[in-house]
């Protein structure tokens, strides 16, 4: 019996040893790691990412791939949870040996993976996380293609100053990294601009009931409310604002939920309650950058709906990564990182892509408003396609 156990354990150890020592992929595809939220509360955004990545992947492979090999995307689903995102980095880098990672979706997950990719010395290009603290580590491995929450606040205040110049502001934000960062940016920027911050409310994103919170905001009588919300809470907040008859002159927001493609729809978003809300935007199908309209068409053919900026950001990071790998002519993380640093794409459908010394791409921010169920750019004036409707009509006066 004892001999049997000894042999058995030896056999098991041998099998495990052999499995663990499997060689890295000596395949003929070029793998790029992607972390995004394909399931969980941010699934809608993760799917938008996937669509954008798919379109970019087809374009890259149609051109012959990278370094003579077909490109393959190695997806890891973080289930909208930061701990899963961290696990994803381990799996992609240590097990699958990808030389570069793109992602994650949310600011919370992204902040969690920043130290991990730095420690594993693999470049990370961030498509959508806007919290400013993800760029604070000054790590040479981190690059972000989208504008951050500081730019969101600046753009919103710039718009407000030139369109009625309201003075009383309330901030309502969800309490993870995304919301906290936007709260911080807007609080500082509003103070600097001389606005009166009458109320600040934090909330938990997966709550179904915000009526008490909105009642408190209503009691302070703000002229402007600035929301930092994901899609589900944005829809619920607008619905319940109508129930409570909350009527600030401006509903503004830090994008994301308020800029999602689903937000103005009735079945997956706020429907008619989304009307007249302002949002910051990183990109729209009607943007004047070359290739925007084509991307919109391809996205519509793929997904049956028009893209919001999240899909475009995914597309842009993959295009940027491919361009860098082409320049580096290498599949080594350090060489790719150096190539990203030098990258200077004057024209992409997402606008120019050039990362500054901190790894931040200086991306301009637009302000949009939902008019007739569609997002329309209203600021800055040289990009505007429609005049803003201010103040927002009271709920009782809307059809």
């Amino acid at each position: 019996m004892k001999r049997f156990f000894v042999l058995f354990s030896l056999a098991i150890s041998a099998v495990l040893f052999w499995a663990g020592c499997s060689k890295g992929p000596e395949s003929n595809t070029f793998k790029i790691g992607v972390i995004t939220s394909l399931t969980g509360s941010n699934a809608a955004f993760g799917q938008a990412h996937k669509n954008g990545y798919t379109i970019a992947l087809e374009e890259i492979n149609a051109r012959g791939g990278l370094l003579g090999k077909k490109v393959e995307l190695d997806y890891y689903d973080d289930q909208s949870r930061p701990d899963q995102a961290v696990q994803g980095v381990s799996k992609l880098v240590d097990q699958d040996h990808v030389p570069i990672v793109l992602g994650a979706y949310s600011s919370e997950s992204t902040r969690a993976i920043v130290p991990v990719v730095t420690q594993k010395q693999v470049p990370l290009i961030i498509p959508t996380a806007v919290a400013d603290n993800v760029m604070e580590s000054n790590s040479p491995w981190i690059f972000r293609i989208c504008a951050g929450s500081g730019s969101f606040a600046a753009a919103t205040l710039d718009f407000l100053k030139n369109n009625g110049d309201p003075k009383k502001l309330a901030i309502v934000y969800e309490n993870t990294n995304f919301g906290q960062s936007n709260n911080k940016s807007m609080t500082e920027a509003a103070k600097a601009a001389g606005l009166d911050l009458v109320d600040t409310e934090a909330y938990q994103a997966s709550s179904p009931d915000y009526k008490s919170l909105l009642q408190r905001v209503k009691g302070k009588n703000p002229e402007v409310i600035y929301f930092a919300s994901y899609l589900l809470d944005a829809s619920t907040l607008m619905r319940q604002s109508e129930q409570l008859n909350l009527n600030p002159k401006y509903y503004t927001s830090a994008g994301t939920g308020f800029a999602a493609a689903e937000f103005p729809t009735a079945d997956k978003g706020a429907g008619k309650y989304a009307e007249y809300t302002f949002s910051v935007s990183q990109w729209l199908p009607s943007a004047k950058w070359r290739g925007s309209a084509e991307f919109d068409q391809k996205y519509f053919a793929l997904a049956g709906s028009h893209p919001a900026y999240h899909g475009m950001e995914a597309y842009a990071v993959l295009i940027a990564a491919a361009a860098a790998i082409d320049i580096a002519k290498s599949d080594q993380p350090a060489a790719i990182r150096d190539a990203i640093k030098q990258l200077n794409l004057a024209e992409t459908p997402f606008g120019p892509v050039k990362f500054d010394a901190r790894g931040q791409n200086l991306h301009p921010v637009l302000v949009t408003q939902v008019q007739g169920g569609q997002y329309k750019v209203v600021w800055p004036l040289d990009a505007a396609e429609s005049k803003p409707i201010v103040p927002a009509p009271e709920w009782s006066k809307r059809k």
Partner: protein, 293 residues
Amino acid sequence: MLNWFYIPLQGIINGLLTGALYALIGMGMALIFGVMRIVNFAHGAFLMIGMYATYLLFQATGMSPYYQFPLAGVLLFFVGYATYMGLLRPIRGQVDFMVILLTMGLALILTDAAQLAFGADYHQINIPLLSKNIHIGPQISINAPWLVSFGIAVVLACALYWVVTQTMFGRAARAIAQNPYAAPLMGINVNRVQAIAFGIGSAAAGISGALLLPVFYLFPEVGNQFKLKSFVMVVLGGMGSIQGAAIAGLVLGVVESLTSLYWGNEWALAVDFVLFILVLSLKPSGIFGSQRA
């Protein structure tokens, strides 16, 4: 403008509307605990099943949850009955801990199975009733779906109370709760009565899930927070007292709402457990309980 009156009044009204739904969930758990001394850790998972079943039927036929909730109740009755007969009855004589482990394991299996089947995505349904509000004066507004679920929950709670106090089944259940050894000697089929009680308790959870669907988000782990709230209600109301759990549900709803109003949304969830700890340390038999703890 009498804001000092109307704002808390709106908070209390919101709290009562939410609390009625909590009460229904809590009564289900209290019934199971009262009759069988079983802490059903799968209660939240049953609620989740009721919610998914209603969601699927809604997607297929468009029937409003406020009409189809009895179906969720029937489904969960059979699920509960089968769970008791198949899983719990064989280990009835064993240590309580085994029962807890079993129901916890069941909850895990059900939740993960739901995640496998439906994905971890959050779902929401949109029915026309959601946009209807009833206004009482300029200050108070009540969202129609909550009023409907309040009405249904109150009717069901009264019906449950009636069943437990007035019917033969209810008397048999209470007899078993009082003395599980003498009850079979009186001719009571203990297993069947307990299985029915478990079924009814689970049906309450399933119906609550159906009523919650229009006003909440649907995802595999949705049952967890309600399971925790049920524990709080059962303790608050006095172990095993159905009417106690119902009142506790209303109390919990109102306290959460007022806390949210005056201290902020984040504290509303913490206050459940503050109440829990306070009651356990100051009056362990519960607010209404003189029952054995």
